[in-house]
Symmetry: C2
Subunit: 377 residues, 2 copies
């Protein structure tokens, strides 16, 4: 996810003038043993990079876990600052907020770019499939190490919401409340979009089957993947309002010919210039193999899989759940989120459904934080 | 556009058992002079490949022009057979139906794969920008040569609908009625989707700036472009109903690891297998440069461009128009089609709006022909 900026010079989710929050602590936790994964493989002594905000109280009952989305990091104060605004969802005065970089990512936790301690070589394409549940099990070890037994709240949007729900399923006695925002198991359209993105990366000759050199990553492929993702994060009406059929603002003519008078490729429309810019920005901050790894973590998440009924799959949840759909989201349509919440409720779980009114599409949980806060109050 | 088949062995728009119509005549018409294009260039003696069905009557007042969509051909009897069903829109007994392959295409009319008579070389990336209006002007020459002055009806879906409307605008005294199906000027989301497809082709190393060898076309790039297009032709609910989260029907495990235990790429879901199949099918029947040429013909169409009011742009239309939106179309959303029809009506033109109820998305005008026929009766 990323926030659309009109100027194309924005720095992410922070509003102009918004003070970025500095974590109380940011560092690494190494799980001192093998982490057995759902796929059957093990990760040897994986690292979790994390950040905390605020202070753990003496009763150790003020911990909140925030789970980030696909391309997010542990620095939740930087990408979700309005959640910490006075009177909003989290309080730096009262809460101890933890955010842990996902396994597979390139922001500090063990991922495809890390060295496999067993071989001394970078994992690359040999990085195993990490499930959402694997992340939750690893995160629980980190919380154990911090002496945190219970979470007052766990929350996240998109794949962050998948983690929040898996926390409530896998650790029913440790979670009081969970907020699952803009997400349900990926539907066919979402699986299709991820399949397109995967191919965009794989088609880049620099990808080299995942064994690319760090100095020669598959930049064009990753940029195209990001562009495909960007259209799925935004709603058509928002794109129309922002870009319409305008020529690219840098001054190009969509009706132009090239220098030889050829007409197969012409000047860009504004939306094309915007997408190119988003792709360029992304390749400077994200790794292609990490992107592939987390796409699969997302695709394969299906908490009903292997169960015969919602009761069987969700019956042990003790947390109070809230599901938040986003009206204009076509990657995770609100009706999918509402239906998913109803399925879980049918297992006897306390689960309400709320809907964000926003034209921003899936990105609304990052792009319209004030509206999200209002809905959660 | 193409029709989704459950078996993945279908042959296009024809229903099982549907008798394919054979044209009365199929051949080429060469415009014996230069065709001056809107972009300022000329096409030297371009060829139009066309097919006709039925017979022109003595009064020469039974001619109907069908305009095809992006990857269509002149053989309308093959891709739109139900339009010819007894009591449907067209009658082989009463109508003289003409369908002309678009300039830029690879199905017989002059396109990027044709030899430029001025240089003796294939146009390739030097093929000029052809507007929808350029096509209409070329088509009018062909009709002149057939002695057809007036069209009882001109109709088409998608870019075929753009041509139908341009016929009514550019030749107001030659068109009695026009059906414009599933189309409006391409909105920002559509421009974005076309931008993604263009990049998919351009990123393929075999594309070679458009100067690829016929025996080494950019197959992977064109296949990915087609896959991106396919998701825009279908609705999310239809994909869910058809594919859901099922593993690929050929037998693959989306939760699998590769032979080395790696998890970046796994077995496909069914929707991914479907898209791959559609991409493979397409590269055997379409040319990458033709695809790029027609994407631009579509992107650049904007009959309001350069005019100050709908009255100025559309005031000279004399035909009776019907616009057909498709309820589940997200490439050309029905509200865009309805709004476009209202704009044209505000110029004093007779233009009604009808909406197809279908879960098929943009493809509905090909995939649910019986429903389209019902709406047009």
């Amino acid at each position: 996810m990323s926030v659309m900026t009109q100027t194309r010079t924005g720095t992410g989710a922070s509003s102009p003038g918004q003070k970025l929050l500095t974590p109380t602590y940011e560092g690494d936790f190494v799980i001192g043993e093998h982490l057995l994964l759902e796929c059957g493989r093990t990760l040897v002594t994986p690292t979790l990079h994390y950040a905390v905000y605020g202070r753990l109280n003496a009763a150790r009952d003020n911990a909140v876990l925030v789970c980030h989305a696909l391309s997010g990091s542990a620095l939740v104060g930087s990408w979700w600052p309005e959640i910490f605004a006075p009177g909003a969802v989290l309080s730096l005065e009262h809460d101890f907020v933890i955010c842990i970089n996902m396994l597979g990512s390139c922001y500090g936790s063990t991922g495809p770019g890390s060295v496999n301690p067993e071989t001394g070589k970078i994992y690359g394409p040999d990085f195993p499939l990490i499930s959402v549940g694997d992340n939750v099990r690893a995160q629980a070890r980190l919380l154990d190490s911090l002496g945190i037994r219970k979470l007052r709240l766990v929350l996240g949007g998109s794949i962050g919401g998948m983690q929040a729900l898996d926390w409530a399923i896998l650790n029913p006695d440790r979670v009081q409340r969970a907020l699952v925002i803009g997400v349900a198991p990926v539907a066919a359209m979402g699986l299709a979009l991820n399949h397109l993105q995967r191919q965009a990366i794989q088609h880049d000759p620099e990808w080299a089957g995942g064994r690319y050199l760090p100095q020669r990553p598959p930049r064009r492929g990753l940029a195209l993947a990001r562009q495909i993702a960007m259209i799925s994060y935004k709603s058509a009406p928002l794109l129309d309002e922002r870009f319409g059929r305008n020529p690219n603002r840098s001054g190009e003519d969509p009706w132009s010919l090239n220098e030889h008078g050829g007409g197969l490729i012409g000047g860009r429309f504004d939306i094309a210039g915007y997408l190119d810019y988003q792709g360029e920005r992304f390749i400077d901050r994200f790794d292609a193999n990490s992107y592939l790894a987390i796409l699969r973590t997302m695709d394969t998440w299906d908490p009903m899989r292997g169960y015969n009924s919602p009761e069987e799959a969700f019956g042990r949840i003790r947390a109070r759940l809230s599901f938040i759909g986003i009206g204009s989201d076509w990657l995770f349509p609100p009706e999918d989120v509402r239906r998913f919440a109803a399925t879980i409720r049918s297992a006897g779980v306390q689960a309400d459904y709320r809907e964000m009114t926003s034209s921003h599409g899936h990105d609304a949980f990052l792009a319209e934080q004030a509206e999200l806060v209002r809905l959660l109050q």
